[in-house]
Symmetry: C2
């Protein structure tokens, strides 16, 4: 059975019946994860207090930069910060106080209400890879991503049972002008999927376009009341808040739309080479960034982000799924919970060029760590390859399958009478076999997580079928999913309005590839 | 740099100088892991009490079987159990009371004292794959294992920095008679490595041979005082204690040698299909088995084992690295700590036929879980393939490399002044770069775990070098390690005595391949 479980209501009949049958196909999506297991915590109370104290020292003594952004500097001055040039020094305690107006959790609404997600608390929302300029698959190799690739990844995300969110820039559609591709990307998320999605952040104007398209999709009045986009605002670590990103943040915050405010750190390059030092800088940066979001609009929904990798000191390449990244993620989760904010980190990170064993070791390390660290929003949860340069078709479905293990892990352990299974142990007794017993028959369908990709066949069968490795099995699954894809229904008036908005915007200015 | 770090004392010179140089090669082995991180616990106090209560009910009402073993039944009767036929029913609390004489931790001595290991407490000792009848490598494919393969795996284990233990049946040498192969296997562990090792369990006589060979290696008087072998006693789940395994256990316990007493469970087949039910049976079985070891010799060192996998209900194949196996392992760790006993579980488990992405996902899931579950002795920590049917050369070195991440994870997070790195943050400031700063220069060498197998090169370099996947990189590493291997020094008199013992034993009876 595939995760795109087809529920056909009838068989036989002519072309019309077949079309009706076809339109009745639906794709199951699991509810976002609600953890029934504890978080894993590596920092002691003393270590947390040291890091929190040092982060305030960084903000107070060293400060952060808001270059080319006089309005931001005015906001900081008015809030009581010490502004000198583009440097903002924030008195001890002020940033944390400002962060207090950010909600501890929020709902991101999807156009299909069954697919709305709760971000925060014990929840974990999974979203796909974000940002790669290249794609790779077995047939086409590694190549620049196009809009067709983008649409394919949105379709795969829509059909992935364990993925709750359609994401944002699932790959960069390099065949569309830089100043127009955000329109096509949003149009794809809005029409090819009914899961929640992200807005554009590459220019404040594009954030405004994102809000306007969301107004068409959800209704203009709805947007100020409901959060329907979560967008990714990266901090230019160390401690620099780029005016373009801040401009997009301002647009979203003022429209009540959510942002992930996220240091982007390769440890040893953009932060100290130690875990405690990196956490100090991460906390200082998110305190400043989230405080700034609340200066733009108190109560704006935000997520504390931490994109942190280590570095190979020989080559300077970022490294993924490493123990140091795990320590930082566990620690950042603790800091986020003490701030009372949703937490974003981890993902299907790997440095490998291929969807091979390296990719899988690194990804499994990071996914497991993300679950146990209490991550609430996991961007890049599937499909990431080659340090984020490549969106991999095969790895997308391989990782998306592994995300099922996180759902089952998070469910924790039941100990009711059925789970205790004392009757089964009595029935079977020493030397017996459980496969046929009543308890097994009653429970086996839901007892174990089951992969839709991995191979469990006997060696001889596997060999007869071509001795395929995981990547080859994944190629087959990608093709099947894309062949089975069916677009979710949409009000034709909304579809027309979205089409018209995109056409009008595209006609209004010349293409730019800068 | 390879983990087989060569420390050459000079360059140049003739053949003698080169030979001297060559003999100065040494192989670094990391000390066993001492955890500086908490354990991850999924069971509440209430759940633990229910499982412990139910396990006692199983022992009291259902009981366990000790077939074909009148001496064992006598021991149980004398201890106060209710014996009926081969069934032993153990009054509530008796097994746990008997377990109390087992030590909470013990030292397993290696012939190189620097490589002795502490089993128990916060420690984790890593040992290689155990038991496969087949081997696989890129050049030779999948084939029956031979003694040459066995020796190769012992050499690879000796040269693996993150592996603390030489293991036991690293593969089954099927070209040597069944009744003699234990002699060659022990001889290989004793002479080709200086790490600790395991004894034979396939017949009580072979356990006796193992003890006698250990007496040659360590000295006859030493053995009764020091534990120099840890051997694997599987329970024939559900709740059956095979007389051959129990015979070997008796030999080892009476010689003060350690045993892992371990249910061998494919969930849904040899135990109930639920986590709580499986844990109940695991606990009942280990309570009975460890109690029996203490009846053989109070104070004999033992490890509470739990080999538990889930099952694919379609094919009946065992599945690995699954969330259900993780729950059971986390829970079993909690139960072991409440018993005050060392705990064995987890490993490089996978169902994959190849060292591919499936193998790595499943293995990484299991290795991470094992670390966080508080495992003290991890058998199968590297090299396991195809559900344990195959010892994989490539996966051995791939997994052994990943074991480095467990060491770094377990070290926890430092928060001393150097780790806080405040001077570095001050020096670099907003918009700066950490690569050149004093703190980075002083710390980068030890800051991050570094793989000896995985690829971190730029895409173009990687492509120019042949676009190799992880398995291909591993093939190269296997060849290099085996080419670089050098035997650790040994007292020639001991070597001669071992050779003579094996020759004499082999000559004393005809070959049997049964």
């Amino acid at each position: 059975m595939t995760e795109a479980a087809t529920r056909r209501r009838g068989r036989g009949g002519g072309g019309a019946a077949r079309r009706a049958e076809r339109s009745a196909v639906s794709f199951e999506t699991a509810r976002f994860i609600e953890r029934n297991i504890p978080n894993f915590e590596v920092l002691t109370e003393e270590a947390l207090e040291i890091i929190e104290h040092n982060a305030e020292t960084v903000l107070e003594e060293i400060g952060v930069n808001f270059p080319d952004n006089p309005a931001a500097l005015d906001r900081w001055r008015d809030a009581g910060a010490d502004v000198s040039g583009e440097r903002v020094r924030i008195p001890r305690g002020l940033a944390r106080k400002l962060c207090a107006t950010a909600p501890s959790s929020f709902t991101q609404h999807a156009r299909n209400p069954a697919r709305s997600v709760e971000v925060g608390g014990k929840n974990l929302v999974l979203a796909p890879v974000y940002g790669p300029p290249f794609v790779r698959d077995a047939d086409g190799g590694r190549r620049y991503a196009t809009m067709e690739d983008f649409r394919n990844f949105v379709k795969l995300g829509y059909m992935s049972k364990w993925l709750h969110h359609s994401g944002g820039t699932v790959c960069e559609p390099t065949d569309v002008a830089v100043n127009k591709r955000h329109l096509d990307m949003l149009h794809a998320h809005m029409t090819l999927s009914d899961k929640p999605f992200m807005g554009s952040v590459t220019e404040p104007d594009r954030a405004r376009d994102s809000v306007e398209m969301a107004e068409i999709l959800f209704g203009k009045d709805v947007i100020q009341r409901k959060t329907v986009m979560t967008s990714l605002i990266n901090i230019n670590s160390p401690m620099t808040f780029d005016d373009v990103m801040m401009g997009a943040l301002e647009v979203y915050a003022q429209s009540n739309q959510a942002c992930i405010i996220s240091p982007f750190i390769v440890g040893g390059a953009m932060a100290p080479v130690s875990v405690a030092g990196t956490l100090t800088q991460v906390l200082a940066e998110v305190l400043a960034g989230i405080a700034y979001s609340q200066l733009c609009r108190a109560g704006a929904p935000v997520i504390m982000g931490a994109f942190v990798t280590s570095i190979d000191m020989n080559s300077g390449a970022p490294t993924f799924g490493t123990p140091e990244a795990a320590h930082i993620t566990y620690g950042a989760g603790q800091l986020a919970r003490r701030l009372g904010l949703p937490f974003r980190s981890a993902g299907s990170f790997c440095g490998s060029k291929l969807p091979d064993a390296q990719a899988a070791y690194e990804t499994a390390n990071s996914l497991n760590m993300g679950l146990l660290a209490g991550v609430n929003f996991m961007l890049h949860a599937c499909g990431w390859l080659e340090g984020g340069l490549v969106s991999s078709y095969e790895k997308f479905v391989m990782d998306a399958d592994q995300l099922g293990t996180l759902h089952h892990l998070a469910a924790g352990v039941q100990v009711d009478a059925n789970a205790q299974a004392m009757d089964a142990i009595r029935e079977v007794g020493p030397g017996g076999h459980y496969l046929g017993c009543a308890h097994t028959q009653a429970n086996f369908k839901s007892a174990f997580w089951k992969s839709d990709v991995l191979d469990y066949k006997p060696f001889e069968t596997w060999e007869d079928e071509g001795a395929r490795d995981t990547a080859q099995l994944a190629t087959e699954r990608v093709k099947k999913l894309l062949a089975d894809y069916q677009q979710p229904a949409m009000d034709p008036a909304i579809r027309e309005a979205l089409d018209a908005y995109v056409a009008e915007k595209k006609a209004a200015e010349p293409d730019s590839f800068m």
